[in-house]
């Protein structure tokens, strides 16, 4: 049981981690591109990289943090224009090829050593260490110094942390989730605002119980401290509010129309190019924000925000459900937590002399990625709408 608790512990850390939130932000942007507008942008990592570089370089060179944020967003904005102007008039395949090529070019430029001035700015393949730009952000923290454990009152405090308590707790969690799903599917007679409120309450309670069962303790400030986590998830919440507003508006409706049939939209007098460009820009800005948040607790390394990151974003998006509000967040959570879970499980059971020993320490993380690759394939084949998506809306065939 201790092994399992450890795995759960690492899963929980990953769940609240600011990098998970950062990727969720980028996936929200990708959702606008691909989920709502049908734009096949396979270069979201480049937007993240632009945000990260813009922010980090500005702060590293001594400018204010806010200027760094503005520059990062501006770079993403310009990049979207540069990408969009030539390609949005072309067929979907071409946008895919151009975005993926552009993302690679950005990565190559970032890691290049050829031009000294560039290398001085970007740090080449090693990138920019987090300490160079993290300071001003960490200083903003208004949290008191020290450690906090979420939840302070946890399973250790009940019956000395016995296994029975934990088992009961997990059964409760499963029950709550089942209840939420049923209410969400409308099978419990609730509708409209009452349904939303009940689901929200259930989710909060479930989260509390999970924290009770798997408490997470961390510093208040400092890398991966609660301040970073707090800001990251706050940004995600703000992002969700914005997306909610956008998609419920006529603009959001126009996005979906463009995804459906561009010619039909043109015949209704809509400027399809402008709509696609706006979607590209907005999604790109979200990506840049995600990139900035991603590198704050870590470092700016171009290879970490390369093509595989875009693929992970797609996996998260499809897992959670494209063209839904909560899909990107849910998908990101499940993706990253799931990855940690697979690594944890294979480390404990497949890589140790206690059980089976078929792989070494490095291989477990590779194994996790193999599982992810296969999972993506199965997901797209058998359940393209993911968890929250609407099946009718998402039989996509561009």
């Amino acid at each position: 049981m201790d092994d399992i608790q450890q795995i759960l512990q690492s899963m929980m850390r990953e769940a609240v981690s600011p990098t998970t939130a950062a990727v969720a932000l980028a996936v929200i942007g990708l959702n606008i591109h691909f989920g709502y507008t049908g734009l096949l942008n396979i270069g979201q990592s480049a937007f993240m990289l632009f945000g990260a570089y813009g922010f980090a370089i500005m702060v590293d060179q001594g400018h204010s943090m806010w200027l760094g944020v503005v520059v990062g967003l501006l770079l993403a904005f310009v990049f979207a224009l540069v990408l969009g102007v030539p390609t949005l008039k072309l067929r979907g395949d071409y946008l895919a090829i151009v975005t993926i090529s552009a993302a690679e070019i950005v990565r190559y430029v970032g890691r290049s050593v050829g031009y000294e001035w560039l290398f001085n700015l970007t740090g080449g393949a090693q990138g920019i260490p987090g300490s160079h730009y993290r300071g001003p952000f960490a200083d903003l923290s208004f949290f008191p110094s020290g450690d906090t454990t979420l939840l302070a009152f946890n399973y250790h405090d009940v019956a000395g942390g016995s296994t029975l308590v934990r088992l009961v707790g997990w059964l409760i969690v499963i029950g709550l989730i089942w209840l939420t799903v049923r209410i969400g599917r409308g099978r419990m007679g609730l509708a409209g605002a009452a349904r939303t409120a009940t689901i929200a309450a259930l989710v909060v309670v479930t989260a509390l119980v999970i924290f009770f069962l798997v408490p997470v303790g961390a510093q208040n400030t400092g890398v991966n401290g609660w301040w970073f986590t707090f800001v990251a998830w706050l940004l995600v919440a703000a992002g969700l509010v914005v997306v909610l507003g956008l998609t419920r508006s006529p603009w959001g409706r126009a996005l979906r129309g463009v995804r459906e049939d561009e010619d039909a939209m043109r015949s209704l007098g809509k400027n399809v190019f402008a709509i696609k460009m706006q979607a590209l820009v907005i999604g790109g800005l979200f990506g840049a924000a995600g990139g900035m948040m991603y590198v704050l607790p870590t470092a700016v390394q171009p290879d970490a925000l390369g093509r595989n990151m875009t693929f992970f974003c797609y996996t998260s998006l499809l897992l959670g459900g494209a063209a839904t509000i909560w899909g990107p967040v849910l998908g990101s959570l499940i993706f990253w937590v799931g990855r940690v879970a697979i690594i944890g499980i294979s480390n404990t059971y497949l890589s140790s002399s206690d059980y089976i020993d078929v792989m070494n320490g490095q291989q477990t993380s590779q194994f996790a990625f193999i599982v992810i690759g296969v999972a993506l394939m199965l997901l797209v084949i058998f359940r393209p709408q993911g968890i929250l998506g609407d099946k009718r809306e998402l039989r996509f065939n561009v």
């Binding site: 006529p250 603009w251 959001g252 459906e260 010619d263 015949s267 209704l268």
Partner: protein, 329 residues
């Protein structure tokens, strides 16, 4: 040639509901391809479209009269749909920039894009309906309205900017849905509608923007006979309210039934124009549709006589001889 293009002239306020009035209006028009109309809403010049070495469309001049129903007919491969696409901005003529010219309701549109054509008041439907299948009927309708403040990215996050307009658009959509008998389907996905219902939806959606001219690409294609009558009724009532209608159609009965003017295309060119009853007996039109047999009932067993076979053999031999002559010359 009276071609006053001012949009306020003539009695289109209220429409030409009276068939006698329509006949009077068109009686003075020459039944020649490319003839000028008393009050044209659309004029096109020198529209040419070539694919490789083949010329698909070559129309020198066409005028479409305001307020009536004009049919565009012709045999398969005549270039009707291509021409349709060219004038609605869904295709670019090879002659663009070299004399191709559009004039709609007094405005020149020399470089058209599909959305600009639609915004200027000329909307179209598609032969294979483009109902936005994975959106609801209501969403389809709401998208039809033009100049929506809520579609502006800067304003869309603030409901006060577009809330009132959205309600107006919704009311209009419900009205049109009711008229086209689609009201109880409004929350269904458009993809779940039947083919005929989708055609009605497309038509209703096209009307959301209060167009001046509606262009229907084979509206009766794939529609069951019962629904055909209903569609015809809708088209006629649109005309009665003052809308100009141009439609491409194959079904001669439909054409004869509702069109006030017919334009015939064959091999990319205009071969005839005129009122429905007379244009059918035009020799050029008959030739275009392959000869004297279009009136023949092919189910008639009397055709299986020896005399009929001999006649056919003679005609075939004659055609072969003519073709050989052409090839040798």
């Amino acid at each position: 040639m009276s071609d006053s293009m001012s949009p306020t002239a003539t009695a289109t306020a209220g429409g030409l509901a009276d068939p006698a009035a329509r006949r009077r209006l068109m009686s003075g028009v020459q039944p020649e391809p490319g003839s000028s109309k008393p009050n044209p809403i659309l004029k096109v010049d020198h529209i040419v479209r070539q694919f490789g070495g083949m010329t698909a469309v070559d129309v020198e001049h066409l005028e479409v009269q305001r307020g009536i129903i004009t049919a565009l007919i012709g045999p398969n491969g005549a270039g009707k749909t291509t021409f349709f696409n060219l004038i609605t901005g869904f295709d670019r003529p090879t002659s663009a920039g070299q004399g191709a010219h559009w004039s709609f309701d007094g405005a020149n549109l020399d470089r058209t894009s599909a959305s600009r054509v639609a915004k200027s008041g000329m909307v179209r439907t598609f032969q294979l309906t483009k109902a936005l299948s994975r959106m609801t009927v209501m969403d389809n309708m709401m998208l039809g309205a033009q100049d929506q403040a809520g579609e502006n990215l800067a304003k869309c996050l603030f409901k006060p900017f577009w809330g009132a307009q959205e309600k107006q658009v919704e009311a209009k959509a419900l009205e049109l849905l009711e008229r086209f008998k689609l009201l109880d389907k409004r929350t269904d996905y458009a993809g779940s509608l039947s083919g005929g219902q989708r055609k009605l939806l497309e038509m209703a959606r096209a009307l959301m923007s209060d167009p001046k001219m509606i262009m229907l690409d084979e509206p009766m294609a794939g529609v069951n006979p019962a629904l055909t009558q209903s569609l015809l009724g809708h088209i006629q009532s649109l005309r009665d309210e003052g809308m100009t209608v141009l439609f491409v159609e194959h079904d001669m009965h439909v054409v004869r039934h509702i069109s006030d003017w017919v334009v015939v295309m064959a091999e990319g060119r205009l071969v005839a124009e005129g009122p429905a009853d007379t244009v059918m007996s035009n020799q050029a039109v008959i030739d275009a549709y392959l000869g004297a047999h279009h009136d023949t009932d092919l189910g008639d067993d009397a055709l299986l006589s020896d005399a009929a076979f001999e006649q056919i053999e003679k005609e075939v031999a004659q055609e072969d001889a003519e073709r050989e002559e052409e090839e040798q010359s």
